[in-house]
């Protein structure tokens, strides 16, 4: 079972590496969305410092969501997913491997580039570190919850917009806790409780979401 999971991770990462452009598009989207806010709101540094954590988190949420449609679509189109469904390895395990690989390819770059965006918004250094940490702890639950939506909307018309409608309300807690963590650090308080809650949510999602994703995939193939 573990070797299958390893193979799936290696395969998906190889595929992602061969299509590096997709990853760059995601990251660029993230940077552009976050850079649009100062243009719309104005260059006032004090204001930007206040809205910075929230803007970066919302941009990360959207970038992470846009990447979701790639998670199962290709495997669905070429029949690989069907093989995974009828194989001996539990589907939820394969799903964990796929979401993990997807997280590395689609969300880890966001985590790494986020401090740069935080700098644009004038966040202090310790808040930048917390921003990266909060994203690292929070984005796994985004990928896991989002994967449920991606599996449910597999092969549906208007899948992309529908996915946003399904997934974004469920993202609200992560957004709230994530930006609270950064905000708390920026205003001189401790971010620890928020970081712990983000980690707890990711762990809860890791234990529950794979079942829902597997069930959703099976429904899509009926």
């Amino acid at each position: 079972m573990l070797s299958v999971m390893r193979n799936v991770i290696a395969r998906d990462l190889t595929l992602a590496w061969r299509r590096r452009a997709d990853v760059f598009v995601s990251v660029l989207f993230f940077v552009i969305v976050a850079s649009l806010f100062p243009l719309g709101i104005g260059p006032e540094p004090k204001l930007l410092r206040v809205i910075g954590p929230g803007v970066v988190w919302v941009a990360a949420l959207l970038a992470s969501m846009l990447a979701l449609s790639r998670l199962f679509a290709d495997d669905y189109a070429d029949g690989t997913l069907e093989q995974m469904l009828i194989g001996a390895t539990p589907l939820s395990m394969i799903v964990i491997a796929k979401v993990f690989a997807h997280w590395i390819a689609a969300n880890l770059p966001l985590v790494l580039i986020a401090p740069l965006l935080g700098l644009q918004f004038g966040l202090p250094a310790d808040a930048l570190a917390v921003l990266a940490l909060a994203l690292a702890l929070g984005t796994p639950s985004l990928s896991l919850i989002g994967a449920i939506g991606a599996a449910l909307t597999l092969g549906l018309r208007g899948g992309g917009v529908l996915l946003a409608l399904l997934v974004l309300p469920l993202y609200a807690p992560v957004l709230i806790l994530g930006s609270l963590a950064v905000e708390a650090t920026a205003t001189g308080m401790t971010a620890q409780p928020y970081l712990l809650l983000l980690a707890a949510m990711s762990l809860a999602a890791l234990s529950l979401a794979p079942w829902a994703i597997a069930a959703a995939l099976r429904i899509s193939y009926e």
Binding site: L152, T153, L165, L166, P169, L170, P173, L197, A216, E222
Partner: protein
Amino acid sequence: MPSANLQNESASFNWFKYASPQAFFPLAGAIAPWFAAFAAVLFVVGLYIGFFVAPTDAQQGESYRIIFIHVPAAWMSMVIYLAMAFWAGIGLAFNTRLSGMMASALAPTGAWFTFIALWTGALWGRPTWGTWWVWDARLTSELLLLFLYFGFMALQAAIDDPRRADKAGAVLALVGVINIPIIYFSVQWWNTLHQGSSVSLKSAPTMAATMFTGMMVMVFACWAYAIAAALWRVRCIILERELRTDWVRAYLGKQT
């Protein structure tokens, strides 16, 4: 032991009979008008108590009277989501067709109650808080609940095969049910950090007895309305989905 089972079935009333859409259809048709009548009477009584009997509030004057619609609607919005997720879960677990139909029949009613709760909340907020909308914990989580309803209905609408729509909706409804408490608490923490509880429903004075009676009557009226509406809607869904069966053809032939 098939013989024992058979005996059991004939001896006692068999509830599972009504898991079949064909058997449930006439039952729903028989019950729904009663609940509708019940709802109509309770609405009239409840609104009479609310608007004419209940005393004027010392702090909020007459504007508080929207509570008689607002609070029942808010409660129903949550209860119906739970009921919807319950039926969706049953449908997923036991593969019963009617459960899925029931879940999709409940969704629009739930969404309406959520909308009414938000709308009346805004109307109530204007005279008492001086603003249409506050990013209060309850308002925000109610808004997210409305989005969850919309997501459920949009997902079902996007899938042509009704059985797949039922199951996909069921997974989404169950995920939503797990998420609702998380959403509620996270919104509450978020709110307490951002602003003090300058506006809070908790500071309202303890309720007069007639106010409470009026509100409870309205709550029961909303329950009865929701049941009647869901039953009527599930009858339509049954007819649509079972259109190819003989009994539906016979039923429709009798109607025209």
